[in-house]
Symmetry: C2
Subunit: 204 residues, 2 copies
Amino acid sequence: MKIITISREFGSGGRELGKRLADAMGITCYDQQIIEMIAEKEQLDKTYVANKSERSISAFYPTTIARGFYRPNYAMIQSAQIMASEHELIKKIASEGNCIIVGRAADVILADMQPFSIFVCADDETKLQRCRARADSDEKLTDKELLRKCCEIDKRRAAYRKMFTGKKWGEASGYHLCVNTSGKEIKQLVPGILEYIQNWISEE
Amino acid sequence: MKIITISREFGSGGRELGKRLADAMGITCYDQQIIEMIAEKEQLDKTYVANKSERSISAFYPTTIARGFYRPNYAMIQSAQIMASEHELIKKIASEGNCIIVGRAADVILADMQPFSIFVCADDETKLQRCRARADSDEKLTDKELLRKCCEIDKRRAAYRKMFTGKKWGEASGYHLCVNTSGKEIKQLVPGILEYIQNWISEE
């Protein structure tokens, strides 16, 4: 059995890579579905869950928490609940069979199952192009604003990962394979990655 | 024309990967030869050149240099000379045709030629095993000492790279592809990397 996890910079094409790899391997790729499943289970709005997911729970703690008594507020409790629900769901999905999971620090959550972990990154120009191509028609951000948004989302993802592991987000040694999609079409990169994964798995 | 550069953690198998990729592609892999060629050109001892190569030149500067007058010493001048000679040689090699260059921050030195850059890393256990397998019979270091040696060499390589680029050594976004060889035979990883590079190049 093999689980593949994909961590990705916002706009790098990680989601498309997950989908294409899953199609080529005949397995399921989980991405937004995880949010939808949690929203349904917890009876919460999808956008609200998406916003809380991959956000460091530590962001809800005041800096003084270590120094004295502090009563956690509702937002903190709900964030913790969503996170616990997400972990439980990711473990359930992985236990059911081969699959690809995009984001949500799944490589760390599933560490015991030794998933094959991929990190996807790209340069600013490529990320901008990718964001523009998929943006809603009412997206009126300037390039600078859009890049700032990418950067903020990545910072949140990095912080979320840091809660569970000593490894830095985006540092090669924390993954099995890191691919840089700068200036490339994702579909051109799939055959090599597929071959790499298949040889990796066959050797286990 | 395509140039491939390999940066690698000490003991991760980067040198073997370079050799195997070059054999599969029918091109030359430059590694120790660069040291030998410089030693010959500069009429210096091979070990001396190897020791100076990939060592940050800043290590020879006293910390007070920015504050006052300082006369560079002989070691500094010779280091700078070896570095300049190395850069010149790497550019010459790359201009002559397809090749693979291992180490020496070749990806940064050859940035104008847009080489395909690979970073190779591995976990401590794999690095120890690889070092033990190739160590001289008189190598009597304990695991802890051997890991410290790996770490010191990597620190030097990181500092050398940092002189030329803002990107951190080992950070995925600084390379086209990062492979983690932990627990694996290098030969099993070659076909996937080869396929990946060939698709990358064919698209250019």
